[in-house]
Amino acid sequence: MSLLAYLVAVWLFVVGIYGVVTSRHLVHLVMCLSVAQASTYVLLLGIGYRKGGQAPIFGDIPTSTPVVDPVVQALALTDVVVGATVSALLLALAVQAHKRFGSVDPDELNALRG
């Protein structure tokens, strides 16, 4: 049970990449990539969690209360933004691919090989 969070992270990572490999639609591929990206959020927040810890905001709670790690949350925030920006760029490329190739099947983009 104590491993569940980490196992879920590993699963999301693996299944996301599997989705990228087998994808037949660029937009679908981007979403699969974001699933794999989500594994890093789960892993980071899982690592920084402390049993019984409060959210790391001393507003209404005294500063002696045990809190969960604020650092992983800062990292996850950055990570969320990075994931979103990459998704946006890839979607822009998918739109262009559709214009140039008339297809969004990654296997039908065939201007380059060898």
Binding site: L3, Y6, I47, R50, P56, A74, V95
Partner: protein, 242 residues
Amino acid sequence: MRSFLALAALGVLGAVLVVAVTGLEPFGHYPGPYGDVLAKVVPDERHTGQLVAATVFDYRAFDTLGEEMILFAAVCGCAALLRVLRSEHEEGEGAPARPVPSFAARAMGAALVGPVMVLGAYVVVHGHLTPGGGFSGGVVVAGALLLAYAGGQGLRLRRVGSITLLEGTEALGAAGFLALALAGLIAAGTLLKNFLALGTSGMLLSAGTIPVGNVAVGLEVAGAVALVFAEFLEQALLEDPE
């Protein structure tokens, strides 16, 4: 063939990762020390109880600087990749009009714009006190702009010049955060160093540069997200070259 190869490889990779994560402390036993040290020193040193905001905008502000610039680069990239080429042209006058939203939908949209915008701004300026801050708030503000569009008030983005305005807002936000970083260098001798009075913890105007950073990030994110929305919308309205 390819999926079998991938299945086998990912199976092995997954197994190795499972072995690796068993070496981590069990869930719920954060080992420290980084987060614990911050939890101890932030309330006194930064006059704020929002540890995440203090981490994001002060102790690890350089990461945030990089993150904002990633966002900035991605927006420049989207704008470049989706730029309207000479070979393409906007829908002519005779093109079929897009369906006009019903009056009720437009009224709903218009009525929501103000409150959503206020909510976004509120989230931005309270980032050093409550969860949220520049990033979430900025997206909410961009969402309000999208609502304004859905309400049928902002058609023809390029012609109205709103894209230029959004570009300006985005660049201003990015430049604002950079300026804040440089101000630390000029006023306090070190990049990103706090140079404002820390005030009383819990007040709106406290925690030195943290709320200023939140506002700059909020501006940039709102401009960036709205700009990306606008670029994609414009593409959806373009005719393809045949």
